[in-house]
Structures are given as C-alpha cells and as structure tokens.
C-alpha cells in the first residue's frame, strides 16, 4: 500500500512552510531515518526523515514551492516491490487528513514537549503566557491539538486562569494571535502610518524593493510589540576587563585549540549573576511573576536572514569551555538557518553584544516574555581614576534593559552590581 508523505508541522504554531529541497529523487530507495527533504519556515530549515522503508515513488510538491500547508500531501512512498500502479488506487487525502505518520522532521520536539514550552525566541510569533506548564482542561488540550491552537497564547477563564473549552471558541485555528495584539488593536504589528515608498515616489528618491522575509516580519512584529507594551527602563554600568582579559589569555594559552571569547565570559557571568540574584530572572504575566529557577541565556546572533537568539541552557552550570564550543556550533548553524526550534525558543534573559563593531554603548529592546536584556559594548582602553590617580584600564560598558512590570530599578541595579563584580573578579566564573 502506498504511504502518503504529508507536510509536517515543525512547530506547534506552524501552518505552512516552504518545501526547500528534495534530497531524494523519484525512484530512490529510502530507509527509515533517511533525510528525504528540507523544509523552510520563517524560523528555520529542518530536515524531514522517512519513517518507513520503501521507494520514493512520486513527488507531489516540487522543490522550491512556497506556502505548502501543514498536512498536505507532498510525496508518496511505495513499499519495496510494489507496483507504481498502486499509486492510482491510493485516494488523495484531504489536506487536513491524518497526522503525517510516514515522516517526522528530524529532531522535531515531540508534541508533548513542544506544546507547554513557551515560545520565547525573538523569531516566534506566539507570546508566552507563563513559563512551564500551561494549565488547561483535558478537553481544551484535546481541542487545541486538533485545531492546532497554541495554548500558551490563550488567556484562560477557568479556575486559577485555567484554559477551558469556551476559551478556545474565540481562538483562531492554526496559530493563536499574541495576547497583546488580540486584546488591543492599537498594538497590532507596526503598520507605519507613513508609507515610505509612496513618499519616496513623491520626492523622487531612488530606491529598490526587497520583499520582507518571514523572519523580518516576525522581528518587526515582536519588537514593535515589546517596545510598545513593555515598560522599559535602562541602567548602565562600566566593568573593568583587565583581570578577565588576563585570565582569558592564561586559559587560552593553557590548552591547544581552546579559544574562549570575552563574550563566553559575559554569557556565563550573566547566568551566574542571575543565580546569585534571582530577582532579575523573572517574567511578567497578568496573574503572576514567573520566577525562573534556571538561567538560560539567549544570545543575539546576526544572520543574513535577520536576528536570531540561540540559547545556552543552564549557562551558570556549564564551564566556559562548554559554553564556548556550544556557542560556536549554535552561531554557525544560526547563520546557515539550521537551528532547531528548541535551540532558539526559550531563554530567560538575553545578551546582545555589538562590541566587535566598536560600539561603545547602546540600549536593546527586551525579548518578551523575558524581562531583561544586556547590551554589551566594546572593551576599550580608557582613562580611569584609581585612588586619586589617573590610570589606564580596559573598560566595557553594559546597558541593561528591564521590564519595569516585573523588575524595579533597585532590583535591576543590584543585579548589575553582581554582574559587574563577576566580570571584574572573573576567577569565580571558573568554578
């Protein structure tokens, strides 16, 4: 019997994607686990593996097709020895037919783990309500799964904010709208009131047009929403780097091939400071402050397609060496567009470093539902005053943006104090 290969959903919120490439051709034999195709969403490129053994008999959707709906038929597999005529007897399935049994995307998070995990990456449309478990009635969970509704984006009206059946009646199928956007039209994705193109035409300014990619649109929407709905405040601190630079040199000299960057130290210090001072490791929800009990650091990486934030999970408890090698791998795959969703969805704080461009100081936009982001400037030799004497020191300016709903000024200041101390006394980061 021919097996239908259906377009898989790579994330709970995905409704369609681009069939980027067929790795196997019609007539190729495939084994379970073989990569047969690559699929691109607005967030990532993922490989699709065959689950069954057989022959790729027919490719229904050619490579390069955009907007392929989840669960639509993309190819057909025949069992070994089966005649191609069997294809004709196989009824074409309805687009939303059974779950795609014959393929699973490689390393796709299971439905179970993907569903309750709030999506926190910049390039994620759904706004998380709270971290960890999403409270919903069994019936609401069942209906959400069937309709493809992201429960983390829904406000529950049941006991203790539990999501019940009636809450789903209002939610759109496929992908739920972010709460903020749904509740208030004025915070809808920034639709500039002035049309730049029309003005350029009027003023005769020459230009070309580049269509917005999915990632671009998501960045635009998420950051507009953040800047408009999250009350930001900013705190700036200078950190002397001489001890850290000396330690880094010593470490890198001590081992062949090891190249720990200043940024690796910053990632670790960010997380260790959160462990020492959990008041900044929080998220705001309407009902609760979510106090995270682990520090996961999202690190902003510029890619040709736009900004993405891979995560160093539990960074406080990883050695600099591990952080360094994870970061190299994540950065590389981020630039190739090959991160898995769970590698960029999540995080409890973000770090953005523009020091390599010689930027002294800047302020970053918070990556919701996180409540803090550190904007790290360049380490530079500056004149400082020590014991009444002028001296030269390597200094780095860090500006933190905090969500004032969850973190007050003094709390943010105290966190930065802890962070500064760790950077200036970096031996503590080796433990």
């Amino acid at each position: 019997m021919p097996h239908n290969v259906l377009m898989p959903a790579l994330s709970p919120t995905m409704t369609e994607g681009k069939l980027a490439k067929w790795v196997k051709n019609e007539g190729d034999k495939v084994k379970a686990g073989d990569v047969i195709a690559e699929i691109e969403t607005d967030k990532a490129t993922m490989e699709v593996e065959a689950v069954d053994e057989g022959v790729l008999a027919k490719i229904v959707v050619p490579a390069g097709t955009d907007g392929v709906k989840v669960n639509s038929l993309i190819a057909m597999l025949l069992e070994e020895g089966e005649d191609a005529s069997a294809l004709n007897t196989a009824a074409a399935p309805a687009p939303a037919a059974a779950a795609p049994k014959t393929v699973t995307p490689a390393n796709q998070p299971t439905a179970e783990s993907a569903k309750p995990a709030p999506s926190m990456a910049l390039a994620t449309p759904a706004q998380a309500k709270s971290a960890g478990r999403v409270f919903a009635s069994p019936l609401a969970k069942r209906i959400a799964k069937e309709k493809g509704i992201d429960l983390s984006a829904i406000k529950g009206s049941g006991p203790h904010g539990r999501i019940v059946k009636s809450d789903l009646d209002k939610a759109p199928a496929g992908a739920a709208a972010p709460k903020a956007a749904a509740s208030s039209g004025s915070f809808a994705p920034a639709q500039s009131s002035v049309n730049a193109q029309a003005l350029a035409d009027a003023y005769g300014i020459p230009y070309t047009l580049a269509p917005n990619s999915g990632v671009r649109k998501v960045i635009a929407r998420r950051l507009s929403e953040s800047k408009q709905t999250v009350p930001h405040f900013y705190l700036t601190v200078d950190c002397e780097l001489d001890a850290l630079l000396a330690l880094r040199k010593q470490l890198n000299d001590s081992m062949d091939g090891l190249k720990i960057s200043v940024n690796d130290f910053i990632i670790k210090a960010t997380a260790v400071a959160l462990e020492k001072f959990p008041g900044a490791n929080v998220s705001w929800t309407d009902d609760n402050i979510v106090q995270y009990t682990r520090a996961d650091v999202s690190v902003a990486v510029a890619t040709p397609n736009g900004l993405i934030t891979p995560i160093i999970v539990n960074a406080a408890n990883k050695s600099l060496k591990v952080i360094s090698s994870e970061m190299k791998d994540l950065g590389l795959r981020a630039r190739e567009g090959k991160l898995k969703p769970q590698e960029f969805q999540g995080g409890t704080i973000s770090v953005s470093n523009l020091g390599m461009f010689g930027i002294n100081q800047f302020s970053a936009i918070i990556n919701p539902p996180q409540a803090a982001i550190l904007a790290v400037g360049a380490g530079q030799e500056r004149v400082v005053v020590k014991n009444g004497q002028m001296a030269v020191a390597n200094v780095m300016t860090v500006t933190a943006s905090f969500d004032h709903r969850a973190i007050d000024g003094a709390v943010g200041a105290e966190y930065l104090q802890v962070f500064k101390k760790l950077i200036e006394n970096p031996m503590g980061l080796l433990l």
Binding site: S137, P138, L139, R142, E146, P159, H160, K165
Partner: protein, 466 residues
C-alpha cells in the same frame, strides 16, 4: 420603628438561603436571614432529608425480607410505622437545630417572619400579618423556594389527597396509594410505600417513568419497580377523583382507555410552583417568567441590588443547585476573583428509589438532538464483582461521549449506591474530562465504582468484564 440596616439580607432559610447567608457572613458582610417557618427550608424539614430517613427504613425492611438470601432465618418480624415516621421527624429536627447553631456561630441575624420587598433596598418582615421589623440592605437575595403544584380536580385535602408534606408525616400506614407523577418526588414515595407493603400505582402523563432521565435508564428502573409489584401507568392522566370517607376512586385515562382505581390515599407529585407571590416583586423592576424570577448568570434580577436563587428562579429545582447559586451570588457581590457562572450541564440529579437513579449531563437522545455524534458505553452491574457480592446486580451505567472530542457529555446510572457514585463523573465533567482521563483513572477493587470505569471503557470497545 427605625430600619435595621445590613449589608446583605437573605429572604428564605432553605438550602439556597442559609448557605448564602453563611457565605456572606464569612466574607465579612453584616448579614440577616428572614425565614417564616423552619430554618433549612423544605429540603431539610419536608423534603430531601426526612425522605432519606424514611427510605432508609424501607431499605432495611427489604433487606429483612430477603434475609434468607444472606443466610439468615428470620421467622417473623414487624415494623412500627409510627416509629419510622418519628425517626424521620427527629432527623429533620436535629438538622434544623444545626442550621440555627450555624447562623449563631456565623453571627447571622435571623428574623422570624415573612419578608416582603418595599422597593429600593428595603424589606418588611411580618409575623401573622403584622409588621415586626423593617430592614434596609444594600443587597437583598430572594431565596423563597417553591411549593407543590396543584392540578385542578387534584387539590390536596390533607386527608385523602396528599402532597409530599402529608405523605411523609401520615398518621397511619395506608394499604394502598396512587402516586400522580413519576418525577423524583413521586417515585421516591412510591418506592417507600411499596417497600413497606402498600399496593402502589404510579400514574405518569409522559410515555415513561422519570421522564428527564435517559430512556434506557428509565426502562430498566420501570422493570425493577414492576418486579417489586408496583403498578405503573404511563401515557396516563387522572381525569377525576371520587373522594369517599376513607378512600378515593381515581379515574385514570390511559391512551383513551379509562379505568377506575380505588385506593386509600392519593399523593400528588406533579411539579412545583415558585413562591413569588406576596414578596413585593411588584414594588420592583423584577421580571417573572411562568412564576419564576428572571435572573442573569450572576443571579441578579432586573432590580439593582436584588438577587434571586434556588427554586424561585428557573430550574432544575434541586437543593444543591440552590446552594451553589447562593455561593456564586454572594461571591460575585463581594467581587471575589475566580467566580464562575454555573454550568447547568454539570448539575447532577439523584433519585433515591430502589434501585437508585443518578445522572449528570446530556442523555443520549438529547446529545444526538444537539447534533453530537456520540460514543455510548454501557456496563451492567451483573458484571461487577462487588455488586454480585452485595447481591445488588440490577442496574446499568451508561456514559455518553462526544465522538469528535472525547468530551464526557453525560452519565446515567441506575443501580446500587449510584447516588453516591455519580459525583465521580461530576468532578470529571466539571474539569472537562475526556474519555482518556477517565480510562487512565485507577478505580479501587472491589467496588461497585469499577462499573463506572467499565462503562467508559465500553464506549471505546475496551471493557474488560463484559
């Protein structure tokens, strides 16, 4: 006479009113309760509770009758009908005293008298037609309850034709009884008198007994009643009563055929009417619908500051529904978070006849009528080990699921102790259970509740002991 002033005044001390009063006091409201007769209302004094005491005696009588089945040889025994009635009255008295104590403990001021709205936030309390107090309150909750419906020609006279009230407090055990109406009240009295040995006839105008229950359950219950010797006429109407000196000849029309049945007593159990007269609704903007007070989901009437709960608002007319409404109403007035309107489909109903009947949610027919495609599970008690050990194998548990989502739409039970067990399904249904959660629930062995599990399994073709 100056007004006494309160935050909340409740009119009526039944299971709706007294619960609302306690909740209001708990939330810090200065609260008063106006009751004209007995604290605890009909439920506690003339309804739910005393009838359960009577039915307990009837149950013991049945067990004695079948004692040989359990290895006992009882040559002769008898019962003292007066003592059975006395026990029932004592139970009611004890509980009514308990409510009095609860009012005191919660510092609820109790007015003995009849409450009547005087317009904006004021209430008159009268005793024997004389005003004894005027009360002012920001919030007035009407919980005035209901009384037995009277059909023309079937007017109760207290001697030959009874309502529930005389039926539970008779001077002597009647030899024969005809019960008009086979709802919960009618069938419980029919069961009681039949089990104590009276000839019992039940006349029901609909085509089956307990018409609100699932058709299958009602068929099984009817068979059991008939097996006990009850005579049941459905699709039947009482056309005329000839009242004699100590008996009544009842003319019953069953699908066009008339027969005359001579009995000692007639019990009229043909529904209820709300007590909404003479409570001053005409002094307010309150609207009535077929005698019942119109309220929104928060039990607010059209008159600001006046609320209504329980049997004086639309049904089902059950004590637990009244109590729940009382709590919702008061918590909403207080502005507590997490107050939710009541879901009618989650209100269970229990009838304490033998065998017992209990249900929640949609019947199979209602579910289909509402457009659901359903999965139905059935499990008879004969397949349950504990039921066999108890010698109580008559009955069935039926579950109805939405085939699409697995939502538990309804559960319907007839058999031993089902009134105690229905709550398992009610908890599940309130939490929006699906079939999987029930299947994954571990039921203790050996219990008759295992039949609840099996019924769910059966809906999906997975029952074990069938």
């Amino acid at each position: 006479m100056s007004d006494q002033s309160f935050d909340v005044v409740i009119v009526g001390g039944g299971p709706g009113g007294y619960v609302a009063a306690i909740r209001a006091a708990q939330l810090g409201f200065n609260t008063a309760l106006v009751e004209r007769e007995h604290l605890g209302g009909i439920c506690l004094n003339w309804g739910c509770i005393p009838t359960k005491a009577l039915l307990r005696s009837a149950e013991i009588n049945s067990l004695l009758q079948h004692a040989d089945q359990y290895g006992f040889k009882i040559d002769s025994y008898s019962f003292d009908f007066k003592k059975i009635i006395e026990r029932s009255r004592k139970v009611a008295g004890q509980l009514s005293g308990g409510i009095k104590h609860l009012m005191k403990k919660n510092k609820v001021t109790v007015f003995d008298g009849h409450g009547k709205l005087l317009g904006k936030g004021r209430l008159d309390v009268s005793k024997d037609g004389k005003s004894v107090a005027t009360v002012a309150a920001k919030h007035i909750v009407l919980a005035t309850g209901a009384r037995a419906r009277v059909l023309p020609g079937l007017e109760p006279d207290g001697k030959l034709v009874w309502t529930y009230k005389e039926a539970m407090n008779p001077e002597a055990m009647p030899k024969s009884v005809l019960v008009v109406g086979s709802g919960a009240i009618g069938i419980e009295f029919a069961s009681f008198y039949r089990q104590l040995g009276a000839d019992v006839t039940v006349v029901e105008v609909m085509d089956r007994v307990m018409p609100v229950e699932d058709a299958e359950i009602s068929t099984i219950a009817r068979k059991q009643f008939e097996k006990q010797g009850m005579k049941i006429l459905t699709g039947a109407k009482v056309v005329k009563l000839d009242r004699g000196a100590n008996d009544v000849t009842v003319h019953v029309d069953t699908n066009g055929k008339t027969e005359q049945i001579k009995v000692e007593r007639v019990i009229s159990a043909v529904g209820i009417v709300a007590n909404t007269e003479n409570i001053g609704v005409e002094n307010t903007k309150i609207k009535l619908d077929r005698g019942h007070i119109v309220v929104n989901e928060w039990l607010q009437t059209d008159e600001p500051g006046v609320y209504a709960i329980g049997d004086c608002v639309p049904g089902p007319w059950l004590a637990h529904k009244a109590s729940h409404e009382g709590v919702i109403c008061i918590e909403k007035i207080k502005g507590l978070p997490d107050v939710h309107p009541m879901k009618r489909e989650n209100i269970p109903g229990c009838t304490y006849c033998t065998p017992q009947v209990a249900s929640v949610g949609l019947t199979e027919a209602k579910a289909k009528e509402q457009g659901y495609s359903v999965k139905v599970g059935r499990f008879p008690f004969i397949g349950n080990g504990k039921a066999v050990a108890l010698g109580e194998t008559d009955g069935l548990i039926k579950t109805v699921f939405d085939a699409k989502t697995g939502e538990l739409l309804g559960a319907h039970m007839v058999g031993p102790e089902v009134t105690e067990m229905i709550q398992g399904y009610v908890v599940g249904k309130t939490m929006e259970t699906t079939e999987l959660d029930l299947m994954h629930t571990i039921f203790p062995h050996p219990t008759i509740s295992e039949a609840m599990h099996e019924s769910v399994l059966d809906a999906y073709g997975k029952a074990i002991h069938i």
